[in-house]
Symmetry: C2
Subunit: 400 residues, 2 copies
């Protein structure tokens, strides 16, 4: 059986996981791909002595770039600087690239997909959204008979772990964050996760797939979970809701798209409310299929490596391609602010009762002392600030 | 733009839905497929006057078979007789076939896939399991780097609707079945659904994908939900479980496979426990990705048509293929009886207390009057019948 040689850029968690998956499941993968897939190089400048990766180590990307044996390059460096440079050089050298790098895809996926097409190679990034969960390929190929109308997902495991702790164990954000760090679910600097930036990048990738143009993170408002209090969590529970950090994309008839990341109240019998701990799930809506949901591990060494390796197998066993839901050029003109959409809001006042009439038409919990669920008309048109009558608004969260 | 012509066999619910999807989303589909896809024939012998399908109607399959313009045939006749005949003739005539027909695929998918390969055309059946849910393609392509170890799914919407009614509203099976009929979720003769036969066919298709050999329904034991009582439902709730009808496939190291359909107790915080009403969901386990779950509408006109139409688009836009997880020949020798697996059981005695020692090591509910959760050793080796001491056993259900 002929073999194909690949290179892995970056021997961090995901890069090492990809090498492990190709070693662990070599026979199975050879059957699926029709050829044996062998890791020939792992690019890293750190000391890999004493690891099984040392035998493949190179420190100079030029070696990989110039080796005609290398058909595909796995980019797991992360960030949008060196990774961007090496991806462009690999594609230009006629090598397909697979990545888990959401930051790079969200910032310049359109440019890199176009470069792949121009060089008749593939640029695939299934692992960039939802980790190991099959998501982008199914959206691209299995829902292709649908006009897709929206996407709504729990896209960040760290924040979902924290919220689950707050909901199930009643512990405050700061303590839950500490537990996430202790369990290895949060970085030393958790800003990108808890401020919603990571979820924002993934939302942008999904929004771009939906509308066929590149939706930049700069145009997608992202709010994290740092302002979610235990009081909010308890109120939500009393009204039959759980608080989840959602990335949302809603396409309107004219092809315009609203995309944002924010904590939302989700009814407790909604499938997304059942997604706990570090798990991710993404609900996709189409005009024929209605709602479908994809669930699994959104991060982690082997789960992410599963998606990366499957993309490599896809490349080896089929003609070059990007996703059919290829997107091109900036779609800035398509973006509508989420505020223009009709929705419901949960509001909590600092003191005193909820003003008369506010949210009265909606199902509200017994405790109407300070908190209510209101319509977006009440939120914007009637003016929630006016209704507050000078009192401070402690929380204002969207309701799914 | 060039166009491709297709034929639909059978203008029942799904067949009409496929025609509707191609009409409704024609422009979107043309972009995805690279060509316009036009329905040229609909085969049916019933009177289609007054319907939009009349203009395409033919009553003789030979017309379709002999028309060189027809590239793909959609088979939505159902059953394994005429559908089998026409599928063989279509494939032999060099036309790809797409189907939602689980009975036909479960009974002779191996033969039809082999025939498709021999004629260099495709035989695809995404819609045969899980209706509109992307499932077989993601298993086939997006999890290809994994050694798949098991599948566990809610594969029948009718029975899930009935169980949901029993659990949430406390109404008995017979009344819940009537409501399912009234809502159009159950056939006039609901036997195939409530006895687990429909779920069994889908389980066989999944089992065949997992082990690469054809697993016949005759070798897969199937128990339905007719023996599930409200008492079982209440006990399950008191112990933190919901009762779900599951199709299960477990692959052991030697490539052997256990597959069965039966009602199971599922912990209420398990993602499958959150799947309600007519929805389906399938959890797939791989050695890299861990567990992933696919959720959505497992039946219904437009959802099923979504999957069928997406398969047609896949055929039009790529090289002929069956699933990569192509399976061949009977795999009878691979099948192990599920009784050989370690598991837990829920048992309910007709009268008197649960015998001392039975299930004591397990978490059991407060009410130990007649019911307990026991290990498979207690079930088989120690002998549950002996433990019953002559008393009748009212219920014996597996615990997931």
């Amino acid at each position: 059986m002929k073999s194909v040689k690949i290179a892995i850029l970056g021997c961090g968690t995901v890069g090492a996981g990809v090498a492990d998956v190709f070693a662990m499941n070599a026979d199975r993968i050879a059957v699926k791909a029709g050829r044996r897939i062998e890791v020939k190089y792992i690019l890293d400048i750190r000391d890999l002595s004493g690891t099984p990766y040392r035998q493949f180590q190179v420190e100079d990307f030029s070696v990989i770039e110039a080796d005609p044996e290398i058909e595909a390059v796995v980019e797991t460096i992360g960030g949008a600087k060196i990774a961007y440079e090496f991806t462009k050089r690999a594609l230009s050298a006629g090598k397909s690239v697979v990545t888990s790098n959401k930051e790079l895809v969200a910032s310049c996926g359109d440019e890199l997909m176009a470069l792949a097409r121009a060089n008749n190679v593939s640029y695939l990034f299934e692992a960039s959204v939802g980790g190991g969960i099959p998501l982008l390929h199914p959206i691209d190929r299995c829902l292709s008979a649908n006009e897709l109308t929206g996407i709504c997902g729990i896209l960040n495991g760290t924040t979902n772990f924290i919220l689950t702790k707050m909901i199930k164990e009643g512990i405050p954000f700061s303590l839950a964050l500490k537990q996430a760090k202790d369990n290895g679910y949060a970085e030393a600097d958790p800003t990108d996760d808890v401020e919603g930036k990571d979820a924002c990048r993934k939302t942008c990738i999904l929004a771009s797939m939906l509308c066929g143009r590149h939706i930049r993170p700069e145009l997608v408002p992202a709010e994290g979970i740092t302002r979610v209090s235990l009081s909010d969590v308890h109120f939500a529970a009393s009204a039959g809701y759980k608080i989840k950090l959602l990335g949302r994309v809603i396409k309107s008839d004219g092809g315009r798209v609203a995309a944002w990341v924010a904590p939302h109240l989700v009814r407790e019998d909604h499938p997304l409310a059942c997604v706990e701990d570090v798990f991710n799930a993404v609900m996709v809506s189409g005009n024929a299929v209605d709602d479908v949901m994809f669930y699994g591990r959104g991060a982690g060494k082997m789960a992410t490596a599963s998606a990366v390796a499957s993309d490599v197998i896809d490349i080896v066993s089929s003609a070059p391609r990007t996703f059919n839901s290829f997107w091109e050029g900036p779609g800035d003109d398509l973006v509508t602010p989420p505020e223009e959409l009709l929705s419901r809001w949960y509001v909590c006042f600092e003191a005193g009762r909820v003003p008369e009439g506010l949210g009265e038409s909606l199902e509200n919990p017994a405790d109407r002392d300070r908190q209510a669920i209101i319509t977006s008309e009440e939120y914007s048109a009637l003016g929630i600030v006016k209704a507050a009558g000078g009192r401070k608004i402690l929380s204002l969260l969207r309701v799914l």
